[in-house]
């Protein structure tokens, strides 16, 4: 029998005292998505804000239907519609001040437009004539990100830089439910919490990552729960309730601006259309599921509230509809114009200064273009002669 085997002879040294770094309780989200419309909380909301949200929702819906129509006319290569999710998009834009930054995902053209970018400019990427289509620094809007969740660390880095500068700028980054499975989502939230960066993460949980439902995406009680593990509060909100979205995002933005650190907001919503015009949603979901969400449409919820409080008069309705139509007409007009593109642009913005390799390739393309244009002139003259 060794010393270790003699009972009582060995006294284990207790480990150093351990305690959690943060009390998790205040970080946990509500059990139910937070709602304002149709509840007592709505009474406290400024009527003018409700009217503005209504008009923006109507405009946003019109934008979605117009852009979808443009894909059918071949004027737009692809459009991922946010119909049904307009409340999230509008609230994300309105919660920010002009100096703040928005980091949208590919489905968030509507948030970009609601933030003030020209409706046609927001579709440049999806039209396919150039990539971003606007100067991010001028509008404080990052390029629409196609890779999932990769724009989230950018938002954290920018917010971190702004915090170091002390200028009170906040970044709001948008991602879908599928994007929360990506590694960049995890790394962004972790960096943000460690650095206490003034950033707000908005997850639009619209039920599907193309065809894969949320149940196959995560085993977490909610996506808002993911915040707790990083040490930041998670908020669960009804994503179709524009007033609730506006309140929760505005609070999170204010908290970030005051040095309170990041917040993760999960908006529970639903994608009424297919993933894009190229997708067939009937293969993975039932019409009855979609119909169940029709009664919870963000515009309908707002109309009910406004009607209940006597705030929805004919003037507001007409004004909102007219504004939306004007925007749609403007969008159609811009999209019907053939873009004027300079092929030599291909080599202009790869580096600050062209490498000799790119100069050679640019010369090659220039020569090809000259031959093509000479041939065009020659064929025009030949046509002229035959007449």
């Amino acid at each position: 029998m060794t010393v270790m085997e003699q009972r009582g002879a060995y006294r284990p040294t207790p480990p150093p005292a351990w305690q959690p770094r943060t009390d998790p309780a205040p970080l946990l989200p509500d059990a139910e998505p937070y709602r304002v419309l149709g509840t007592g909380a709505a009474d406290k909301v400024d009527p003018e804000l409700l009217r503005r949200l209504y008009a923006e929702l109507v405009r946003g819906r019109r934008y979605n239907t117009q852009a979808t129509a443009l894909t059918k006319q071949g004027r737009l290569a692809v459009y991922p519609s946010s119909t049904g999710q307009e409340a999230c998009e509008i609230a994300a834009a309105l919660a920010l001040e002009e100096r703040d930054w928005l980091f949208p995902s590919y489905r968030d053209t509507l948030a970009v437009v609601a933030r003030g970018l020209a409706p046609a400019s927001a579709l440049t990427l999806l039209r396919g004539d150039w990539h971003t289509g606007y100067d991010p620094r001028e509008h404080h809007i990052a390029p629409l990100s196609t890779p999932l969740a990769t724009q989230l660390p950018h938002a954290v880095g920018l917010a971190h830089a702004a915090r170091l500068k002390g200028d009170g700028v906040v970044a709001l980054a948008m991602v879908g439910d599928g994007g929360t499975s990506e590694g960049d989502f995890h790394e962004a939230l972790n960096f943000a919490a460690v650095w206490q960066a003034p950033v707000v993460f908005l997850v639009q949980n619209n039920g599907f990552a193309i065809s894969v439902p949320l149940a196959k995406q995560t085993a977490a009680p909610s996506l808002a729960h993911k915040a707790v593990g990083y040490g930041m509060p998670g908020r669960l909100v009804d994503g179709n309730d524009a007033a609730a979205m506006h309140e929760v995002l505005s609070e999170a933005v204010a908290r970030a601006r005051e040095g309170g650190g990041p917040t993760l907001v999960e908006a529970v919503t639903y994608r009424m259309e297919a993933h894009t015009n190229a997708d067939d949603a009937t293969r993975y979901r039932q019409d009855t599921d979609v119909d169940a969400w029709r009664d919870h449409d963000p515009i309908l919820l707002m109309e009910r509230e406004l009607t209940e409080r006597g705030l929805l008069d004919d003037d507001l309705k007409r004004q909102a509809a007219d504004d939306a139509e004007a925007m749609a007409a403007d969008l159609r007009e811009h999209m019907n114009q053939e873009p004027v593109l300079d092929p030599m642009d291909l080599f202009t913005h790869v580096y600050a200064e062209q490498t000799s390799q790119l100069r050679e390739q640019a010369a090659q393309l220039r020569a090809e273009l000259e031959v093509a244009s000479e041939e065009e002139v020659a064929s025009g003259e030949a046509e002229e002669e035959t007449r």
Binding site: T132, P153, V156, E187, A188, H349, V350, A352, S356
Partner: protein, 342 residues
């Protein structure tokens, strides 16, 4: 060429310095000169980096300028993108070559193309420091030569120094560049020494110019980074065979200095490309093709490659068989069909 840190040269201050020290000095001088330069990465603060390149930066400039990050390479580079979008000049450290792979999506999908996709509105002045290559007895994932991945990505500059003074000059130029630079640091040259006076006016090398390290008439060895000293050694050894080898140090893979390389091969008529990374799909294939396109009528022999084998980087006890050494280079030179010339 421009000079910086115009302090008086004092002879006594010139003493042996390592490449790691020169790199550290370049970071320090860049940070002192430009408050927008920020260093971030894993262990870059109190520890000074696992290779001590960032030694003293956190103490001198504070943790906000030299920041220990969470251990996440995509996060390190991804947050650097946001910092650069806001006007900072981040210099990120990837610690080891193979550790940079999680950051590839950020590098390729965002860093390399932000200028292009925004039509020049948003250049990203980010320097990504990647210690790379073998020869230090590192275990798996600590010795990769990953340059082929970087040079295949338009929008990135790819730079690699081989001398102490180039380490300083090229890193200064990389940090000052308005475009993203992948700065590959040859790990096994970190402790190589040269007489170097950090207080003397330093040459800041423009990115994209190769240099003839050793003039010669018989054949050109085209190389870069960790293989430069090996090629110089091979050139010395070749004298016994009667071969007078020229050694061209590329210093920059992107942009590629076709002019210097072609001028050398026009003179010598023979060329061997030497690098550690695998030959198949490696930089040597591109370089050999470029040389052939420009110098075909001056060539006395096919352009040969001496590269690492096309294998995952071997365990340390076997790496000496993988790395191109003097003998393998001389064997290649011997295969340059000398009889055709005599």
């Amino acid at each position: 060429m421009s000079t910086v840190a115009a302090k008086p040269v004092t002879k006594s201050a010139t003493k042996p310095a390592t490449m790691a020290q020169a790199l550290g000095r370049a970071l320090r001088d860049s940070m002192a000169e430009d408050p927008s330069v920020h260093v971030l990465g894993e262990d870059v603060g109190a520890l000074g980096g696992v290779f001590r390149v960032t030694d003293g930066l956190a103490a001198e400039f504070g943790e906000d300028r030299c920041t220990d990050t969470p251990l996440a390479e995509a996060g390190i580079l991804g947050t650097a993108v946001g910092m650069a979008m806001y006007g900072l000049r981040p210099v990120v450290e990837m610690q080891f070559d193979a550790f940079a792979y999680p950051a590839f999506e950020q590098l390729i999908s965002h860093v390399a193309r932000m200028r292009n996709r925004t039509r020049g509105a948003m250049p990203l002045p980010i320097t990504v420091r990647v210690p790379y290559g073998g020869g230090i007895g590192g275990v798996e994932h600590h010795s990769d030569s990953s340059e082929a991945y970087y040079i295949a990505t338009p929008g990135l500059h790819v730079v690699t120094p081989a001398t102490v003074s180039d380490a300083y000059g090229l890193l200064r130029a990389s940090i000052a560049s308005d475009d993203p630079v992948v700065f590959l640091e040859p790990k096994r040259l970190y402790w190589s020494k040269a007489d170097w006076n950090p207080d003397a006016p330093q040459t800041v090398e423009p990115i994209g110019r190769a240099v003839v390290r050793r003039p010669g008439r018989s054949a050109t060895l085209i190389t870069y980074g960790p293989s430069v000293p090996v090629c110089l050694e091979a050139a010395e050894a070749a004298r016994a065979e009667g071969w007078d080898l020229e050694v061209v140090d590329l210093r920059s893979l992107v942009p590629f200095d076709d002019e210097t390389v072609a001028a050398s091969v026009w003179r010598t008529g023979r060329a061997v490309v030497v690098h550690e990374s695998g030959g198949f799909g490696g930089p040597g294939g591109e370089i050999a093709a470029r040389v052939t396109e420009r110098c075909f009528h001056h060539l006395e022999a096919p352009v040969l490659r001496v590269a690492g084998f096309d294998i995952p980087y071997p365990p340390p006890m076997l790496e000496k068989h993988h790395l191109p050494g003097v003998d393998r280079i001389l064997d290649a030179v011997a295969r340059l069909q000398w009889e055709a010339d005599s």
